[in-house]
């Protein structure tokens, strides 16, 4: 079990050395390590600490690296688990946008498996919401009502969902990778002892093995990994907003609502939600925005952000900022896009005066259209931009705003 270099195949070419993100592979002389070969003088050696991430497998042109996985025994009887579930996150009684996208994707998965698509809805007074979920394709809605469930709290929600999963045995559970979803899903998966893959960008079914193929970015998006949960159920995955397309509403779609009430005292609650405070500075939420206009170091100072804001307003978009601008105090952290800020995936991302350091790119490189405006023609951002404008942003950005106003009326 573990990772092995196949001695007879390895040519000592060094392609794997550069691919290991942890720098653990070395090329040594075969003679030194007692592994002679008639043709090749060198061989790769993998150092301590390899966590079997597999990044070295693809670059190897002779398939000389083998990862052997220990076949774990199934923890549960997998054949008993059927159906695709979507957790219907609601905030202030409103179903969150990502849920409709999960219903769209969930429908495809359910159809492929020949199973039902269900929703789990927790809250208080959720009758209308439940009907909405059916209209968007849910075959069944488990509507759990309770005053303690009105707003999300870790403990009662985890109790309810894990009990329900253990009772109803779904094979797949999908959740939005929202602030709530990410920590909630982790807790549920940990309690159930099952696998969870976060921030999936692609979901597919391997019908032969009846497995969910969960694809997600790693190392800041420089690498994609396809994950499976072969021996545990349910297979859990979280998906970010705007990755999948929203399901189509069909008023005529029929489904079953299973309504259940739960008493507060039946559930645990170790945290006390005291207040909710809204942030009014963000007029358009970054996470939801279809269009984002971002400013970076090139703006020179906080007083210049108004040209970014003007363009964003004209486009009906949100304002983002690079880490440089946030660290300099020109914009609040809530607007930061990048590795230690937010990851966004809008239709249009306009980067103004942003050089495109990799830590910023990982936060926005999956945007549909990237526009880069920078006076330095060698700025790395131009490598990922769909449209690049080399120029003075103080002239270009207002020119764009002006042209848009004329065109859009």
């Amino acid at each position: 079990m573990g990772i092995k270099i196949l001695e007879d195949k390895c040519t000592g070419c060094t392609l794997c050395v550069k691919a290991c993100p942890f720098g653990l592979i070395k090329i040594v002389s075969r003679e030194e390590v007692g592994k002679p070969h008639p043709k090749y003088k060198k061989i790769a050696v993998i150092g301590q600490g390899c966590n079997l991430c597999g990044a070295c497998l693809e670059p190897c042109s002779v398939q000389a690296i083998l990862i052997e996985r220990e076949e774990g025994k199934p923890r549960v009887d997998i054949s008993q688990y059927k159906g695709v579930w979507v957790f219907a996150e609601q905030k202030k009684d409103e179903i969150q946008g990502v849920v409709y996208e999960l219903l769209g994707e969930g429908r495809k998965l359910a159809n492929q498996l020949g199973e039902k698509l269900s929703c789990v809805l927790l809250g208080e007074g959720m009758d209308e919401a439940a009907k909405q979920l059916i209209a968007y394709g849910a075959d069944k809605v488990y509507q759990i009502e309770g005053s303690i469930l009105r707003n999300f709290q870790d403990d009662p929600y985890t109790d309810v969902l894990t009990d329900l999963v253990e009772k109803e045995k779904p094979e797949i559970v999908l959740m939005g990778a929202t602030a709530i979803g990410r920590s909630f899903a982790s807790r549920v998966a940990a309690r159930l002892g099952t696998g969870l893959t976060a921030d999936c960008t692609e979901l597919a079914i391997d019908l032969e093995k009846r497995q969910l193929l969960q694809t997600r970015p790693a190392f800041g998006g420089n690498i994609m990994a396809t994950i499976t949960t072969p021996h545990s159920r349910p297979q859990m995955a979280t998906v970010r907003h705007k990755v999948f397309k929203k399901a189509i509403r069909q008023g005529s779609h029929k489904g079953e609502v299973v309504k259940e009430s739960v008493e507060d005292k039946a559930l645990s609650l170790r945290t006390k939600l005291l207040t909710m405070v809204e942030d009014i500075t963000q007029t358009v939420k970054l996470a939801d925005a279809d269009i984002i206009v971002s400013g970076g170091r090139g703006l020179g100072g906080p007083e210049n952000f108004h040209i970014i804001e003007a363009l964003a307003r004209t486009l009906g978009g949100a304002v983002g900022a690079s880490r440089a601008a946030v660290d300099a105090g020109w914009m609040p952290y809530s607007h930061q896009v990048g590795q230690t800020g937010r990851t966004v995936c809008p239709k249009i991302y306009i980067a103004c005066g942003i050089s495109g350091a990799i830590q910023h790119l990982v936060g926005m490189q999956s945007s549909e259209i990237i526009v880069a405006i920078n006076k330095d023609p060698n700025a790395p951002i131009f490598k990922v931009a769909t449209y690049g404008i080399e120029g003075d942003l103080f002239q270009v950005v207002p020119a764009i705003t002006k042209t848009l106003k004329e065109v859009l009326g």
Binding site: T197, T271, L273, T275
Partner: protein
């Protein structure tokens, strides 16, 4: 009060690039760093110790070289460090990692608060924090941007949400994961670095921490990596030329044609 900070050593992504010819990851002299979010966790632990008195123990699960990350934490002022390292831990997914760290924390002993960074910049899952809380059977709040109040019995925090924040109170022992907004991490001090150099780090392997063999490492990982591939590289596109007005016009034209505005 006893504070435990969980950290991870990760590759510094500054130099991680994609080789355009072979479409694979190139690592050019990547140094290992303390996961950036974890430095905020360390700083918060130190501030809490300064406020309430007590001890900060920093713990990490990783290969032997992760020791340098622990020494960095010590040089910032942490009191003790524990490294969980064992070939048996290799191939751990987030569940196995949460379990292993929880076993390690239990062995450390009594604690009031476990502090984790929001997520690791290599895995990006943000799952281990809540996973540890579940395994330790303690309450948790993620994305904490401020600790409003803490005493022997409870902690009150501000949790960052998409559209603002929530104020949540919970009894101790508990776990929090923190975001950048919470503080500004200190630089290490020279005396701290000298102390850290000489400090003895506790190194524990699987048999030291009372864990079940089938719940660590690969056997304990329900998820496995089936395949790794590099996404098709995003190609640079068109350069729009002309004076600012022309460039603006061309851009708006293109965006209209693409039907995004």
């Amino acid at each position: 009060m006893n504070f435990i900070v969980c950290i991870k050593q990760v590759p510094g992504t500054t130099e991680v690039k994609i080789n355009p010819k072979t479409n694979t990851l190139i690592r050019e002299g990547v140094e290992s760093i303390v996961n950036p979010f974890d430095t905020y966790a360390i700083e918060e632990g130190l501030r809490l110790k300064e406020r309430m008195g007590g001890k900060v123990t920093v713990i990490s699960m990783g290969p032997p070289q992760a020791e340098s990350a622990l020494r960095e934490a010590l040089s910032m002022g942490c009191d003790e460090a524990v490294l969980l390292t064992d070939p048996a831990f290799a191939g751990s997914d987030t569940l196995a990692t949460s379990y292993t760290l929880a076993c390690g924390i239990r062995k450390i002993g009594e604690f009031d608060l476990v502090i984790c960074g929001k997520q690791a910049i290599d895995g990006d899952t943000a799952q281990v924090g809540p996973g540890i809380a579940e395994k330790l059977e303690i309450p948790a709040v993620t994305y904490v941007k401020k600790i409003e109040e803490i005493n022997e019995a409870l902690v009150r925090v501000e949790r960052m949400m998409e559209e603002g924040y929530e104020v949540i109170e919970m009894g101790l022992p508990a776990l929090i994961t923190v975001v950048k907004e919470i503080n500004e991490p200190r630089l290490p001090s020279l005396k701290g670095m000298m102390r850290a150099r000489k400090a003895k780090i506790q190194i524990w392997n699987a048999s030291d921490i009372a864990c079940e063999k089938n719940r660590i490492g690969q056997p304990g990982s329900p998820t496995i990596v089936n395949r790794i591939f590099t996404p098709p590289p995003r190609k640079g596109g068109e350069l729009l030329l002309g004076d600012p007005e022309e460039q603006a016009r061309k851009l708006v034209e293109n965006l209209r044609q693409a039907k995004v505005i």
